[in-house]
């Protein structure tokens, strides 16, 4: 009888554990801070790609001037 009670309690405990949510960054998102992170990243990416496009155009100009 005790065995049955014990195994039932174990099952209950285990199922409670699997239903527990893993901690994620909900509070961070609820505060809207994730958008700050994204804004920073977007600015960095934008500047990086502007530099890259300008470099591309500079090289193209050099190639054309060399061809002539």
């Amino acid at each position: 009888m005790m065995n049955k009670v014990f195994s039932f309690l174990c099952l209950l405990l285990l199922s409670a554990k699997t239903q527990a949510q893993e901690p994620m960054a909900e509070q961070f998102r609820a505060d809207g801070k994730i958008y700050v992170v994204l804004a920073v990243i977007s600015i960095i990416l934008l500047v990086f790609f502007i530099i890259l496009f300008r470099l591309d155009r500079k090289i193209k100009k050099q190639e054309e001037s060399l061809k002539s």
């Binding site: 893993e22 960054a25 994730i34 990243i41 990416l45 790609f49 470099l55 050099q62 190639e63």
Partner: protein, 225 residues
């Protein structure tokens, strides 16, 4: 390679990278123990490595092309792809190390995949040392091309084949499940595949720019002679 100088695929690259960051940080991800939010690294660390392997594979192909045709342009292409690929490999290893610090508890562990990646970095470091070892361009090109072929084959063995044959902590090797464990709801695949494409195209773009710079340098050197 006229199409390499068009712009449409570069705009695509920009769109994909922005999408990767935005969707990567805002979308829902599976709630897994230990990883928590850091699972989002899957969108950055892994595509960096995939792009690197793609670029080094292009270098491998161009090395073969150079050996069969002796056209120095192919050698310069191989060199450009290897340079950018190596750079992405450094990013991949450092991002992996940071991820490891917070999930495995150490910056580096005694693991076959990590050692394989480190050996791969050293192999390609030796490639650059080989490249700078002489002034004779044709000799260097031939040595570098042969080395590049062996380097790539061995690199694939070190990072993909050997780690899967032994016990490893790194996901995807030694009995650990790889992506299939994480893509429980396919939501991650929606960001992961564009991320791989985006970083691969970025790598190709950077390599093509470097290649054009090398060609210009060569032409200027020839003109000044």
């Amino acid at each position: 390679m006229k199409w390499l100088q068009t712009y449409w695929w570069k705009v695509l690259c920009v769109v994909l990278i922005f999408y990767t960051f935005w969707a990567g940080l805002l979308n829902d991800v599976p709630r897994l123990p230990i990883l928590n939010e850091s699972i989002r690294n899957l969108y950055f660390h892994v595509p960096m490595w995939f792009a690197m392997v793609g670029l080094l594979f292009m270098a491998f192909l161009y090395s073969i092309k150079y050996l069969s045709s002796k056209n120095i342009e192919y050698d310069i292409k191989a060199k450009s792809y290897t340079e950018i690929g190596f750079f992405m490999g450094l990013i991949g290893i450092s991002t992996g190390s940071v991820w490891a610090r917070f999930t495995w508890g150490a910056w580096w562990i005694d693991d076959p995949k990590l050692h394989g990646a480190a050996i791969g970095i050293l192999i390609y470091l030796a490639y650059f040392i080989l490249r700078n070892s002489s002034n004779n361009q044709t000799l260097i090109a031939r040595f570098a091309a042969v080395y590049s072929i062996f380097a790539f084959v061995n690199f694939i063995i070190f990072i993909f084949i050997l780690p899967r044959l032994t016990a490893s902590l790194h996901p995807g090797n030694g009995g650990n499940p790889a992506f299939s464990q994480y893509d429980l709801d396919n939501n991650m695949r929606l960001v992961f595949y564009p991320a791989v494409l985006g970083f691969l195209i970025l790598g190709i773009w950077l390599s093509s720019l470097l290649h054009r710079i090398h060609i210009l340098q060569k032409k200027y050197d020839e003109q000044s002679l």
